[in-house]
């Protein structure tokens, strides 16, 4: 608990070597218990193969037999600088749902591209979803350099192409690294096979990424999770989404627009005077307001955007298309309302970022839409770039999440 984990997601097209890269990285950083290594050797041998590093996270029987990651998994390793949690996401188009599940927890992404194939459909789709999920830090791996005889020219060409595409997403990668995951070249140390490469090895590039700071400097937003009556006290429970909450502070209850003061902050066994962004706490108010789950407590001194119409960028992953004016549930922090998509200004192919249609009537599977959303009652929203927790939402049909988006 002393050091926080830096959370990474591995993304890229199927068969470009994500799981192998992860396995090899764990091996090189001595993160593997002996027993795991022998377990993988046995399982690899049972399927008639050499030691397959991908088996470390490909634990399902189906995954090993078909040599394909199906669901997201997580592994841990340590460098001298810090602890990492690395999320392996599947690269098949059918499994985009599992990929974004993994990616939404990450602070940075590694995008794996194999030579000689270069960028493929899922490479580009993953890159655009990483952008949409708000992950700003990215490292690009050009894998399977052995197939390019470790030469500079093919690397340079592939590098140019991916940099162009990422520029369109406003992403500037922290590094583009030539790698051979199978033998570990340029993973934990610079390889003598590619002396022409002047940049960092993967581990070094990872250590240079920055941890996201909690949003303490932003205005206070406290989405209400629940109300408990304990020993005659009415405790408002939730997590501070942004800002710092202090005893005595004047707050505004939304959407009711009522005012109150914080009389006490509750954490079991402690009596803190303030709570920073990310803290789970209880609050006692100085008067009995009609607070309920889904309300937002906000700093009275700062303006708040209470709105029933806003624009956003939506990614849709359900087989069943999202239709314009269809009544659907929207969840943003603890707020839940019904809404309709009033307008789809642009319907975009998530793998090429090309506009398929303007003023569209629906969004199909794996498409991105620039949309106008109309909610049945006003909710407290913010631009995603300003306060993430109030700037992102999911769309549910019959309790199933089928799309998600950010407010722009």
């Amino acid at each position: 608990m002393e050091k926080r984990y830096f959370r990474l997601v591995l993304s890229g097209h199927i068969d470009h070597g994500k799981s192998t890269l992860l396995g090899r990285l764990l091996f090189e950083t001595n993160s593997l218990p002996k027993q795991k290594i022998s377990e993988i050797k046995t399982a690899s041998r049972a399927l008639g193969r050499d030691m397959d590093f991908a088996f470390l996270t490909d634990q399902l029987k189906e995954e090993r037999e078909n040599q394909m990651t199906l669901d997201t998994a997580q592994a841990f390793f340590r460098s001298r600088a810090r602890n990492y949690a690395i999320i392996d996401a599947p690269g098949h188009v059918e499994l985009i749902k599992n990929m974004i599940t993994g990616a939404s927890q990450a602070q940075a992404a590694i995008l794996v591209i194999a030579l000689p194939e270069g960028m493929q459909e899922q490479t580009l789709r993953h890159a655009s979803l990483i952008g949409l999920l708000g992950i700003k830090q990215l490292i690009v791996i050009l894998n399977k350099m052995d197939l390019a005889d470790y030469k500079k020219q093919p690397f340079k060409e592939a590098r140019g192409k991916i940099l162009d595409f990422l520029a369109g997403l406003n992403i500037k990668p922290a590094a583009v690294i030539p790698v051979c995951a199978r033998n570990g070249a340029n993973l934990s140390r610079k390889s003598s096979l590619m002396r022409w490469y002047k940049g960092p090895c993967l581990l070094r590039a990872l250590n240079s990424l920055r941890l996201k700071k909690p949003g303490n400097k932003k205005p206070l937003r406290f989405p209400v999770q629940d109300i408990y009556e304990i020993n005659g006290e009415r405790i408002v429970a939730g997590k501070v989404a942004s800002g710092v909450l202090r005893c005595g502070q004047r707050i505004l209850l939304l959407p009711a627009l009522l005012e109150a003061r914080i009389s006490a902050i509750k954490i079991f066994g402690e009596s803190p005077k303030k709570a920073e962004a990310g803290k789970n706490i209880g609050i006692i108010l100085n008067k009995p307001l009609p607070v309920k789950r889904g309300d937002i407590l906000a700093d009275k001194a700062f303006g708040i955007r209470l709105s029933d119409r806003f624009t956003g960028e939506v990614f849709w992953w359900s087989q069943e298309p999202l239709r314009i004016n269809e009544r659907i549930a929207l969840r943003c922090a603890s707020q839940q309302v019904h809404c309709v998509i009033e307008k789809i200004e642009k319907r975009i192919d998530s793998s090429s970022l090309k506009i398929i249609e303007k003023d569209a009537a629906g969004l199909g599977i794996n498409e991105i839409g620039i949309v106008v959303i109309k909610t049945e009652t006003p909710i407290a929203v913010e631009k995603f770039d300003f306060i993430e927790d109030l700037g992102r939402f999911i769309l549910e049909r019959n309790f199933n999440p089928e799309g998600a988006g950010i407010i722009t």
């Binding site: 634990q59 029987k61 189906e62 669901d71 993430e388 999911i394 309790f399």
Partner: protein, 236 residues
Amino acid sequence: MGKDSTTLLWITRKAFFGQIPFPVIHIDTGFKFQEIYAFRDRYTQEWGLDLVISHNAAAFRAGVHPEKGKFRCCHALKTEALKNCIASYKFKALLLAIRRDEHGIRAKERYFSPRDNGFKWNYQKQPVELWDLYQAKLNSEEHFRIHPLLHWTELDTWKYIQREKIPVVPLYFAKNGLRYRSIGCQACCSPVNSRADTIRKIISELENTDIAERSGRAQDKEDAYTMQKLRSLGYM
């Protein structure tokens, strides 16, 4: 009541300001360590828990035993016992202390994991989980497995136990050069060589070990995919 369950209980007590407002289940196989039973009874009283003990007495009496097949034993005495318990209390959600780093199969889990009425984990069709927005409602016949500690590691658990001064079953501390890293049923757990007899020493041991946490747990090893089979049928 291993270290992770105890940690989860502690966090749940904190979340509800000292008083857990729902029942706490102990799946009692009948084969647990004596130390576990003593620990359970003591803290049930001290923390004012509403304890439900679930035991598959029929299978136990019929002679189900780890030596006659671990898969069948785990399935009958744990999964079936849990199933009966959920059915009789009509629980809609269970909080469980599994972690992704314990086992590759558990790494595939979601924080809110739905189970159908046949109790099955449909690992090929799991819901999308974005940020902290979990699918939290279900159709009537299903229940949720909720895994608040999913992203924790073994080391995280111990550091949290140290920080919060949480009591744990004494089996974790070394005696005569041996200690348990993972506890469950007596017949299926073996100790590891260790001199770590304090929490501080355990943490330092874990920072330097290359032995897996569940290396002493027999049910993980019977065949490479036993855990997948057990879990797809509803095992924790």
